[in-house]
Amino acid sequence: METISTDVAIIGAGGAGLRAAIALAETDPKLRIALISKVYPMRSHTCSAEGGAAGVIKPDDSFDLHFDDTAGGGDWLSDQDCVEYFIHEAPKELLQLEHWGCPWNREADGSVAVRPFGGMKKKRTWFAADKSGFHILHTLFQTSLQFPSITRYDEFFGLDLLIDEGRCQGVTAMEMRSGELRQFHAKAVIIAGGGGGRMFPFSTNGAIKTGDGMAMAYRAGAPLKDMEFVQYHPTGLPNTGSLLTEACRGEGGILVNKNGRRYLQDYGMGPETPVGKPQLKTMELGPRDRVSQAYWHELQKGNTVSTQWGECVLLDMRHLGEKYIDERLPLVRELCASYLQVDIVKDPVPIRPVVHYMMGGISTNTKAATPIPGLFAAGECACVSLNGANRLGSNSLVELLVFGRRAALSAIEHIQGLPAANTKALNARAVETQKRIDGLYARTNGTESMSGVRKEMMDTMEKNAGIYRTEEGLQEGVKIIHDLRQRYDKVILTDKSKVFNTDLFQMLELGSMLDCAEAVTVGALARKESRGAHQRLDYAERDDNKFLRHTMAYFKGLEPPRIDYLDVVITKSPPGVRDYSGDHK
């Protein structure tokens, strides 16, 4: 197996991975950086983010307000030292992107424009029409091309971390076009592999979002934190699950049920605001967890609209007018026209909540460090505990910048004065990866179809770990996912070729998703309270006495994870009531 020696290896080349790579290259041009990704950087899922990125920039805003919105929006499960660091770094990172050429929308005077977003008390979301993530990703990718010290390994599938002497010292990966394995020996590793929303059947997530980075760290002994918190975005296209950005509502779109009633007023987000005059932090600009949960209640009451794609509510943007829609929401108009054949200028669009984002992930501290020395993580794959129990829209694009950079700086600190690697020990570990892959090719006792196991996993996650959960449903979910993890060892690899074998990649991805799914279900069963995106019908209240703490899941092979807890860091905002009734009441 070929060995590639480098200083820092980064797994994942989306927003967080690229930001980390640039920070490494800028801080120390002598560092050798290996940027490893299973896709070309521009394909990373950051490109699908639409609405924008939050950072305090305008004179009427303040860091304290961004702090309060984030901590309360997260139902007080955010670590407040992390929130504090984040809000201060956010504007600097967004300005840095501006200096690198990101085409942010502008005010008439040439300053950066901001738009309203759900759960935010002030307008502070920087945006590039409704393709903000796309522009952030491409700006970072293009900027990264000027640094000769960044060596990209595009379409290399990350497999196992190399741990020796308790330190992370590299990673194995497969060159996808040849099927050959490589071992990267590195002084530090940064995982920036994204979330795992594809474990659910109805998701805004691209096909690549299979939790590989999370699972890799988890298998190596790093705990996954708060995995039970899975965000449903309130407005997905009902057939493809594609995202219709929160900016639809930020710009003034309204949600109505089959009777034409703006039903959010019935779920603690009223009273009603005038149509086309959105007010911050209330009604359609409530937080995602609450707005998605309101849909579920409307469904129970029979207030939804029956469509050929299932039960929906309606997102009405007609009053915005064609000119404004084309200026602010051109992608939304195009998506609805193409995939649903609905023109949002003329008709309301049917939508329903869709799995969008995982608040949980590899446990990291405010320095983006995991408990394993030498291993860092940033972006959706990490849980730095910024987002708590519910992420506010437009915080995650900034999170991947702030903590991508932070991971790079922490990695540089870590590698100073390290003892030389024991390459023999690392080689031995890499051989284990090779054996694992060879075993998949050699498997002859397969009885399970991959698409069959995958479908059962997805259906179970939707049925048993969806917007509202129960003890009984979660017990069943835990049991089925556990069973599927055993059956995974009997999945048939049909394609035995070495060359760009997507049958093999899908099998590896399914393994990652199953590992992560078990952490989600076991964590959800253990958390007997309702907080943010984790809602239990049988424990309807938040329970700060027992559960103002993070769930920590430790990998135990084919057994269910060991669950432990970690205290939440509260500095200045004690848990309180989340009030989204607005100033106008």
């Binding site: 521009m42 490109c47 699908s48 200096h99 091309l145 690549i208 057939n239 060359v499």
Partner: protein
């Protein structure tokens, strides 16, 4: 939901086992509203796990799933079955080497993007602490349309010149150079001209406009060449 039986004819090639590419026929029941990618996904899940292609976002923004569909370069996630009758022929993007089945090697494209220095070379450098570079909406509009390219490579498959003259830097890279040249924050035009205004750059373009046609949903690569 209305369904229909779709016939796909897909070009298959595995360099490990095949001496030449061959077409394989699949029949699959699809919803009328589906895209070609949905049909391929159903084939892979239910009929033939050995079929290989790239995809991710399913919303025409990640640029992964470019392929030839009935001879035209298309994103398969944005090519609707409702627009086709009869057998749908699916082949890898032309003008790129085939790695396997519908998977092509974009190495040349990636190298060309890099050569136009697609990043801000600041007119005047200032620290972050001094805030943003002011840019009016009019200044933004001068380059925004050229920043919309998703790098899906359809325009390279559509470009007859790139097919004939592989050293031609091609529509997407030229568009990207133009995007930065037009940015009020940038002062790097002269450096980029070393690549753009040469025999491999803009002078190779023959202005047939096939690139614009292939990419009409996203950027407009023809525009910078035709200036």
């Amino acid at each position: 939901m209305k369904e229909r039986l779709v016939q796909l004819e897909v070009l298959r090639y595995n360099p490990d086992t095949d001496t030449e590419a061959r077409f394989q026929r699949y029949e699959v029941t699809c919803a009328e509203e589906w895209v070609v990618l949905d049909a391929l996904n159903k084939v892979k899940a239910d009929i033939d796990p050995t079929l290989n292609y790239r995809w991710s976002c399913h919303m025409a923004v990640c640029g992964s799933c470019g392929m030839m569909i009935n001879g035209e370069p298309k994103l398969s996630c944005h090519t609707f079955l409702r627009d086709y009758e009869g057998v749908i022929r699916v082949e890898p993007l032309v003008h790129f080497p085939v790695e396997r089945d519908l998977v092509t090697a974009p190495d040349d494209f990636m190298e060309k993007l890099k050569r136009v220095k697609p990043y801000i070379i600041p007119k005047e450098k200032k620290p972050i602490s001094e805030g943003e570079y002011k840019q009016t909406p009019a200044q933004l509009m001068k380059f925004r349309q050229y920043s919309m390219c998703i790098n899906c490579m359809l325009c390279y498959a559509a470009c007859p010149e790139y097919g004939l003259t592989p050293h031609f830097i091609g529509p997407a890279a030229l568009t990207l150079a133009h995007r930065y040249n037009q940015d009020s924050r940038d002062g790097g035009r002269k450096e980029r001209q070393e690549v753009v205004a040469t025999h491999e750059g803009v002078w190779e373009c023959t202005f047939v406009g096939a690139c614009s046609e292939s990419a009409r949903r996203t950027s407009t690569p023809r525009a910078p060449c035709s200036r």
